[in-house]
Symmetry: C2
């Protein structure tokens, strides 16, 4: 039905329960336990005070169920990977704590779990969970972040002593931006080029002690503090340099590569590229977690900005002394409500991704192709969700004016803390290129991740047809698409099948066009780098439109799970706003490719405006549905302390 109307009364408990989803119990636990002075958001601390506070919070969390979630039951874990990701994303009271939890139990502990073998698990996991052993994940170097294959730290095996010699050959090989390194970490999982018997075997990970029990750097280890950062100053990022540091042979996390006492190398995966990407693939949980954390920060910012926009008034209506609430202005709605709709869409996409990650980690071993799809989905959502969070929190800050600039209102900190989310756990631009390569190769290439040349060569020989996989709500989406009118101009703008088909058609067209472009250039013998580089904007677009389509699919599936007719009706309108504002943002493409007529394109803009107006009365219910505790928001403009004096004032 062509309508933007929504029901009047929304039960926010129903809404919250739907959003809480499969790991509702973890969310509830977080709401009950992250309370009181220790977990209250604070601001204006010095770096040292902030680090100390986060360390205290971390110790408190170490005593709960949370650290166990991500580890195998054999060593005291709860083997609830989905729960561990959800627990991470709930730490919105201070994103420094969120990241510190991620470093200790996600990256550091996760690497031992995923890359180590039984010996490492038994020896380390209990102390990792209890926080007796705080650690680091030392992958990035000053000279190489995105290009992990070219890391320069070396681990050279010495059969005489049965030790590895870990070494930083030059300053670009220094480990950089390493969380937990500047203050707390005692051991680091160090990624290094493994060398044995004069032969290089590519990047492997080793456990290297960096501090003794008294916190002094170990001999040969140089530790530097990265110092003050734009945000996340509760996390002690540092730099590590190794001067021929010796560790025993058992320090190698050897699930994917072993070195025998005599220096002989063996691996269950013969092909070195495949081995490398298999090892990297185990890090997928980190990316899923970051996408979730970005989502939480966007939700918190929207909750603050919407509450403020509902109470704050500015300028009178003509002919009236009554001042207008900010959220009644179209420009204000435009700033906040499409961002709110997209936050909902990403929430459902995240929920689905966490479920897939969880099922892949606890059930039957998955195929390599399935693993690659999951990695690709995680990479794409991480990129889109973190950019969305940056833009949304920024819009919220501006929508709160000068009040938004004061630290007491939290937006400044949320903005600064999340800013690096677009960079760490894989720079977004690099991640989107991985997604595009996966789509171009149908996840079928030999090694898990072709390089540029390989991708161009692979495409050169073959006919390419885009495969659009409907995964989240396959049957439902099939039905919706089939029910949509065949001719686009006849379809109602609010027809979900039409909206979906438009995004699906765009994905296919962009991808096939890209494949043709690369194949043609490849055939004509052009330089592979130039070919790929000249198409880089096309490559990024292919990934982005793919993610946007899959996010809509997840939103459709999420709405379909809602049994309450009023809430469902509301969510249908929110889904309309996501779909139509996504189409609007890219309407130039739809016009250029004859997918929208000019008149219909203008109608899309009008529909977005209309939806903003009809969702405006429900903005508060929609942010309440996120279920963020009032004390986590902690902003006077969002109803925290101080609000009463400023708003409920009598007129003299």
């Amino acid at each position: 039905m062509a309508t933007t109307s929504v029901p009047e009364n929304i039960d926010t408990d129903v809404l919250r329960s739907l959003l809480d989803g499969r790991w509702a119990h973890i969310r509830q636990m977080a709401r009950q336990s992250l309370r009181g002075e220790l977990f209250a958001p604070v601001h204006g601390l010095t770096v040292e005070e902030h680090r100390e506070r986060v360390a205290r919070q971390l110790r408190e969390i170490a005593a709960t169920e949370v650290p166990r979630l991500g580890f195998s039951t054999a060593h005291g874990g709860a083997e609830d990977v989905g729960g561990s990701v959800v627990a991470f994303e709930m730490l919105v009271c201070d994103l420094s704590l969120m990241v510190k939890v991620g470093v200790q139990w996600g990256l550091f502990g996760g690497a031992i779990q995923a890359l180590g073998t039984e010996r490492h698990h038994a020896a380390y996991l209990p102390a990792v969970m209890s926080l007796e052993l705080p650690g680091c994940f030392a992958m990035t170097e000053t000279g190489h972040g995105s290009d992990v294959q070219r890391l320069r730290t070396t681990a050279t095996y010495d059969p005489a002593t049965e030790e590895f010699v870990v070494h930083t050959p030059d300053p670009t090989a220094r480990k950089d931006y390493i969380g937990n390194a500047a203050r707390d970490g005692r051991v680091a999982v160090v990624f290094a080029q493994l060398v044995t018997a004069g032969e290089r075997h590519g990047v492997h990970a080793l456990l290297v002690p960096i501090r003794d029990e008294q916190g002094r750097p170990m001999p040969g280890v140089r530790i530097e503090d990265c110092g003050h950062k734009a945000g996340l100053n509760g996390v002690d990022n540092g730099r590590l340099e190794f001067d021929r540091v010796r560790v025993p042979r058992t320090a190698l996390l050897d699930r994917y590569g072993r070195v025998a006492a005599d220096g002989g190398y063996s691996s269950p995966i013969d092909n070195p590229r495949r081995r490398f990407f298999t090892m990297l693939g185990t890090l997928v949980r980190g990316r899923v977690s970051v996408a979730g954390g970005a989502g939480s920060a966007a939700k918190a910012a929207l909750a603050i900005a919407v509450r403020h926009a509902e109470s704050r008034r500015q300028f009178t209506r003509p002919g009236s002394a009554e001042e207008v609430r900010l959220l009644d202005y179209l420009a204000h709605q435009r700033r906040l409500l499409p961002a709110l709709a997209t936050t909902y869409a990403l929430h459902f996409a995240q929920e689905e991704l966490v479920g897939r990650l969880h099922d892949a980690s606890v059930g039957e071993p998955t195929s390599e192709r399935e693993r690659r799809e999951l990695e690709s989905q995680a990479a794409g959502l991480k990129a889109v969700a973190t950019w969305h969070a940056s833009a949304t929190i920024q819009a919220c800050r501006e929508a709160c004016g000068g009040a938004g600039y004061l630290s007491e209102n939290r937006l400044a900190q949320l903005r600064a803390d999340t800013d690096v989310f677009t960079t760490f756990e894989g720079a977004n631009t690099v991640l989107l290129q991985l997604v595009a390569k996966g789509l171009l190769t149908h996840y079928r290439d030999e090694f898990g991740s072709l390089d540029t040349l390989g991708t161009v060569r692979l495409l050169t020989g073959r006919f390419f047809e885009a495969v659009i996989e409907r995964t989240a709500a396959r049957t439902l989406v099939d039905r919706l698409v089939e029910a949509a009118p065949g001719r686009d101009e006849e379809a109602d703008l609010y027809d979900r099948g039409w909206q979906y088909r438009l995004l699906e058609d765009r994905e296919r067209h962009v991808l096939e066009g890209l494949a043709r472009r690369l194949r043609r250039a490849g055939r004509e013998g052009e330089d592979a780098f130039e070919v790929f580089n000249n198409a880089q904007d096309h490559v990024l677009r292919a990934a982005r439109v793919h993610v946007e389509r899959t996010v809509l699919e997840a939103f459709i599936a999420g709405v379909d799970r809602c049994a309450d007719p009023d809430v469902r009706n509301l969510l249908e309108r929110v889904c309309d706003l996501y779909a139509l504002s996504t189409i609007e943002a890219d309407r130039a493409w739809f016009l250029e490719h004859g997918r929208l007529t000019p008149a219909r394109s203008k109608a899309v803009t009008a529909a977005v405006n209309a939806l903003c107006g009809s969702l405006r009365p429900h903005a508060r219910a929609l942010v309440d549905g996120f279920g963020l505790e009032q004390e986590w928001l902690a902003a006077p403009i969002a109803g925290g302390p101080g609000e009463g004096t400023a708003v409920g004032a009598a007129v003299s």
Copy 2:
């Protein structure tokens, strides 16, 4: 000629000299004097340390020519308003210092100069210039920022004692976010509703002492600290509340409104609305300054990011061991180079605006219409330049990856400091609406600034035709437009006349469409607020496209001033990139309105890519042309201390 080629050798001195423009001597003075430890950018200070440092810097500047620039020669000033704005924008070493300078000599001193009379000038200006008298500009209140007419602080005249009673009637009337209030200010220019003999005369400004010589709050004055902010923590923002504070009758800055000893009110401007907007209009200098400051911050960020992108390498070319410089990637060029081109365009627009402001303040009295045009130009450029700075610094941060997140590399601070520029000195959304109203009324309405109802009513009665005034390079632009082919499809994309005509035509169409829409609704008797609000996106668009057109005009005029053929040729390409990336960003509109065919729209995107490629070798020269001192950039990744070790490292 349809070309994207540029000459090989660029003389950056010539480029810098062109950019330095009319106030080159001020820029040179800044380069020579803002040096050494005292003016070195720092980070990670506590709020108190930062405030103390900025106060020391301010005292140093008080001893220079800078404070005198903005004041009349009669009281020791230099009466060089343009110079004062340029001096402000050069303070890029610490934007807290920039803002503090702006508060003391621009807002506080400027208000005394513009709103006071001879008595105030003689009594206060020397002490303002010397910094003996630090002061505040207390306009914004907790409850009213954008809507200055509805401020709630009162100044009630008591003829018995010949005093004004300044009072804060309720907490929403508290003066908020006031720079210089929390720590240093001794006097505030307080904007309040003037009441005498029981009659209200609207908002006027009075000098109110807030601290004694020992820094203690004056009786009846309550001062609160706004505390930690997202940025600008070297500026001591505070809140002021007045409990029936008495000041003498002479405290009223009475250029536009006088109160006689008996309480009789008189003003040279009878109409209260016109009086109000005349008073507000004197604040135009602040907006021009903020636009300039935003430009400087964007330039500094680009200088850092371009230098980094020229030296940093990541990933190898296929079949080669050589790693690729970041700036060779199309996606990286896309991030930085259109932003660089727009920064150039805005520089020339700013240069022209400063010139107009200067000439209006030192020459013959200008007409009310000219003043309104200047105010509108300042409002529009302030909005566009500050949003551009936010987006550009953000892009630079992301383009520098993890290094961009470290405070030592300055981008974090530049981003955080400038964030509030979009809000203060007029929230951008409000400013753009002022611009649109000016365009709709041809600056001819009676009162200087019609309200919503007035605008709708004014339009209802009349036929509206958009007037596109070519001001910056009238003859030249006329010639270019005439020389462009009559049929758009025949025009070369690089034809400046065609580019300009496209922007001009868009401006006319958007504005006339908006006028028709408002008139129609007005005739049909719809609610004026609803009519205007439903068109708010259209209103904002009208202002934006107007500014974009005038900025292109200024860029064309700037290039025309360049005598060096190579530099001129380079700037022509930069101007192409500004024009075409501006068209590209809004190509949906051009497609929707039949101004671009789909094929031509795609060609615009291809041209932007091609221009990025051809300008890439000159990116360094273009940022060097800004003439920012190396020590102001102070980022290790931009060649500061530390760069050598990380980049020039030997391979072991």
